[in-house]
């Protein structure tokens, strides 16, 4: 086969070589871009079961696989203040024994079906994921239903997972990035706000985890009216609705309430040092409490962040990496949740350049507030976001992630239809407005995890704020 194709190709080569190549090509300017392809989004179909369980289906028939997510309002926001880590632990326990199967049997069965079955929780929601070849969808969905509806929470399994978690917490001390990611939210939110508490808990809370607490959280929050099922892949709506009703139709509701807390009042700009003796780099996180996913400024913020630290050509990455070589990469993000999540800019920089890197971070954070972004830079960022959108829907798991976000935050399922238009409407003035509003330059927390003996003097000399020494949990070290 290839031989024949090759023969044809050779012929064409001669023709086009004569016509197009060599002297004819002007390399001094890049080729003009033709019109961008029209956006084709997969369409969403929905259904609601009698028990108020909502179902969304996206048909994708290219590859015989199906991806199912069940999203439940059972995230860490519901954790008691003295028991951080309970929601993630509960989600983790779902597949450690369910229905008639033990933990090992569930894992073995899923593997045998060629399925990936996973459970997790974030601050806002808990999720159960299944990705499976179409022909094994039914038995895999049976397994998933056991995990969601009939977890056993055996004491022996609780004890086993509790011990694993204890060692995982111990090992966080080995990882400067993990230390930064734990201390930074603790500092900006404070421990009275759920987003300030570690998702995976701490030593004290882990020691207290028990079957009673896990069962209670499960009974309260794992209910159909607080759940959404998203099915993406090689199925039809009718088929998906039948398969889901057969397994989740008898799931019963119960009462539940989600309490919300407030973030701590921000301190004046302060530099927080977390000591990591011998570290080859300093891990930097700079930011403040940002915005909720429901913000009306979502689109200007996407453009702002793309310019600041959300792409390779963003200002932070160009400055710290491509101009100065202080780091392998620098970035920023607005983490958006049900309530306002963190805004954070960050990088890992070589220890000897910690102070120099902080100067550049502060320069960029001030500049994007103080000066309107040039038109070309604005246009590039908007094109990067808008034209990159179709690629997010290529795979079943990619499309699932896009729609899961809508289901998690209660956004309309037609959201992406107007996405490009709303990105294109963002102006330079919008970007500056949201930069000034959401990058709180006078109250930034500047968190640096590094070798204090090497970096403290330089950081102190910057005079960006008082220095406070913290541990990896964000607590003051005396």
């Amino acid at each position: 086969m290839n031989r024949r194709v090759f023969a044809l190709a050779s012929l064409a080569t001669v023709v086009s070589a004569a016509g197009l190549s060599a002297q004819g090509l002007d390399r001094t300017r890049p080729p003009a871009l033709g019109p961008a392809p029209a956006l084709r989004l997969p369409s969403v179909q929905t259904a609601t079961l009698p028990n108020r369980l909502r179902l969304a289906v996206i048909e994708m028939h290219e590859v015989p696989v199906v991806d199912i997510s069940i999203v439940i309002d059972a995230g860490a926001v519901a954790d008691p203040a003295d028991l951080p880590g309970l929601a993630t632990f509960t989600a983790n326990m779902l597949d450690e024994g369910a229905g008639r199967r033990s933990a090992l049997e569930i894992s073995e069965e899923a593997d045998f079906l060629g399925a990936s079955l996973g459970t997790t929780a974030g601050y806002d929601v808990a999720s159960v994921f299944l990705h499976v070849p179409k022909r094994q969808l039914r038995p895999a969905l049976d397994l998933m239903a056991d995990v969601v509806l009939r977890p056993t929470f055996a004491d022996s399994e609780i004890a086993r997972q509790r011990e694993l978690r204890r060692t995982a917490i111990l090992q966080q001390r080995d990882q400067p990035v993990a230390m930064a990611n734990t201390s930074f939210p603790a500092i900006i939110f404070g421990d009275q706000h759920p987003y300030g508490r570690p998702l995976g808990g701490n030593e004290a809370s882990t020691a207290m985890l028990s079957r009673d607490q896990v069962s209670q959280l499960y009974q309260t929050y794992y209910r159909p009216e607080h759940a959404r099922v998203l099915v993406v892949g090689d199925v039809t709506l009718a088929e998906a609705e039948r398969l889901v009703s057969e397994r989740f139709g008898a799931w019963e509701n119960g009462p539940s309430v989600v309490a919300r807390s407030r973030a701590a009042e921000p301190a004046a700009r302060t530099v927080y040092l977390v000591d990591k003796p011998g570290a080859a780099q300093s891990v930097i996180r700079i930011g403040n409490v940002g915005v909720a996913r429901s913000t009306e400024d979502y689109f200007p913020l996407q453009v702002l962040n793309t310019i600041l630290g959300g792409s390779f050509t963003s200002r932070l990455n160009q400055n710290l990496r491509e101009t100065h070589g202080y780091t392998y990469g620098a970035n920023s993000q607005f983490v958006m949740r049900q309530s306002a999540g963190p805004f954070q800019a960050g990088s890992s920089v070589q220890s000897s350049k910690t102070d120099s890197a902080l100067i550049e971070f502060m320069r960029e954070l001030r500049r994007i507030r103080d000066e309107e972004v040039p038109q070309a830079e604005l246009d590039k960022a908007k094109a990067y976001i808008a034209l990159g959108l179709p690629g997010n829907f290529e795979t079943t798991q990619g499309a699932a992630a896009q729609f899961r976000e809508l289901l998690t935050y209660g956004l309309p399922l037609e959201y992406y239809d107007s996405y490009v238009q709303r990105i294109n409407a963002v102006t330079a003035a919008d970007v500056q407005r949201v930069a000034r509003r959401y990058i709180d330059i006078d109250h930034l927390a500047i968190v640096v995890v590094g070798d204090r003996s090497q970096i403290e003097a330089g950081v102190r000399a910057l005079n960006e704020g008082p220095i406070s020494v913290r541990d990896m949990w964000g607590q003051e070290v005396r």
Binding site: F6, A38, D111
Partner: protein, 461 residues
């Protein structure tokens, strides 16, 4: 930031894909493509997939860290970074600026055997992608300057700090490689290279390397996605046709080697818990026993029901994790088993169980259900890799991978068939043949705690 990273893991991931059950056999997995070669030796593979209006260009240069020489380790990867720094007609920074303004992403990676570059984006960006790729293939030389080398040297040294030195256990791999391979062997150093060698690289090294390896006749390009093959051919002619062929390339073909004795070593690191690494010489990718060795690694440590996980993590609770994999490179391979001890346990305890379970597989083999389970898992991951055309591990990347490793781009089904043929007896045989040879045992222990290390006498076989 996942960008311009090196990905040795990529080959292992690709090699893991396999297995197809009888029910799916009828619809054989195919990635239809056409192939042509320009007069300058540049081979082009075109695959149409019109499901989403995106296109990907994936270029494989057949050079990796295995082509470096001692004293200049890390060089292939450093050069990869320079490929994004501008070429004669594309000023520094414009490569990324132009692509992002067109809605496209790009990245590159270096392994022991090859270096690749891709751009993913909307279909109308294809001429731009080819313009940029052709300019850096044919016209990079005047833009290779000492200043750029110095800058990217700094970036790469920070990559080394971030991904290795500032990671717990991050220096284990280079400590294993230099014990597993003889001094000077092309696989005896890590892709990232050493700090000293990175500092030593000169502009002349860079220019020589470019002239030797970054030629049209040492590359394969895959263009895939929502494209028309005839249009691709004419664009390829337009942008690449004038690039002149370089000298013929001869790769070092590092010899397969064996250890004469077990090698025990200990590394003290800033870690809370000790971890032991075992490494045995095995076979190169796609050698007859490669598939069975992959299956063996899954029997040992893939999933909670695997033998080592079940015993060490679940039942005995002496380890926090255990991992096994077959790292099959183009010229040689190694089989790895590593595990981290829980507080209060030392590495000899872990080694005793690892050795016991390996012996059990070598003596009685896995069950048919274990082999079938692994086969089903592999089939599913294979289907997953059929969903995406671009990025690392997408269809374009795999076409280039198969083309380079086995000479047939659409080797998907044939690769699956290798796994279909693996029997419990094969797994038993490779456990006996490869894992009862001499090995490197590296213990990484907390500073000041060498007594936790595995010892030749303690980890009795």
């Amino acid at each position: 930031m996942k960008r311009r990273t090196r990905t040795t893991a990529l080959l292992a991931v690709l090699a893991l894909a396999c297995g197809l059950p009888a029910t799916l056999a009828a619809q054989a997995l195919r990635v239809p493509h056409t192939t042509f070669t320009l007069r300058n030796g540049l081979k082009v593979i075109v695959h149409e997939d019109h499901s989403v209006p995106i296109v990907t260009v994936n270029t494989w240069y057949h050079v990796g860290s295995g082509d470096e020489r001692p004293g200049r380790t890390g060089f292939a990867h450093l050069f990869e970074h320079l490929m994004f720094m501008g070429s004669q007609h594309v000023p520094t920074g414009q490569f990324d600026q132009l692509l992002e303004a067109a809605g496209a992403d790009n990245n590159g990676s270096t392994t022991e055997d090859r270096t690749n570059y891709f751009e993913d984006g909307p279909t109308n960006a294809l001429p731009l992608m080819l313009y940029l790729d052709s300019d850096r293939m044919g016209f990079i030389m005047p833009e290779l300057t000492p200043e750029k080398v110095d800058l990217q040297r700094g970036v790469v040294q920070n990559e080394r700090r971030q991904s290795y030195e500032n990671q717990p256990y991050g220096l284990a791999e280079e400590n294993i490689l230099r014990r597993l391979y003889p001094q000077g062997h092309a696989y005896s150093w890590p892709v990232i290279g050493s700090m000293a060698d990175l500092s030593a690289a000169t502009i002349e090294d860079v220019r020589d390397f470019s002239r030797t390896y970054y030629t049209s006749n040492n590359a394969t390009m895959v263009v895939a996605g929502d494209v028309n093959p005839a249009a691709v051919r004419s664009l390829m002619e337009r942008y690449f046709g004038e690039i002149r062929r370089g000298p013929a390339v001869t790769r070092n073909q590092p010899p397969a080697v064996n250890l004469e004795a077990d090698v025990y070593a200990t590394l003290e690191d800033r870690v809370q818990l000790p971890r032991v690494y075992n490494a045995w010489h095995s076979v190169r990718a796609f050698a007859p026993d490669d598939a069975a060795l992959n299956v063996l690694s899954d029997v040992l440590a893939s999933g909670k029901s695997s033998r080592l996980y079940r015993r060490m993590v679940y039942e005995m609770q002496i380890a926090t994790q255990v991992t096994a994999y077959h790292d099959a490179l183009k010229a040689d391979g190694s089989f790895r088993v590593l595990s981290t001890a829980r507080p209060g346990h030392d590495l000899n305890e872990l080694q005793r169980v690892i050795d016991e379970e390996i012996r059990r597989v070598a003596e009685t083999g896995p069950t048919p259900r274990e082999v079938e389970r692994i086969y089903n898992q592999n089939e599913a991951s294979f289907l997953g890799r059929m969903e995406r055309v671009g990025s690392f591990g997408g269809k374009a990347d795999q076409l280039a991978f198969y083309d380079y490793f086995v000479g047939t781009p659409d080797y998907f089904q044939a690769d699956l068939d290798r796994y279909r043929r693996v029997t419990p007896a094969d797994v038993q045989r490779v456990a006996r043949e490869y894992l009862q040879r001499h090995r490197v045992v590296l213990s990484v222990v907390p500073q000041g705690r060498p007594e936790l290390a595995a010892t030749q006498t303690g980890g009795a076989r």
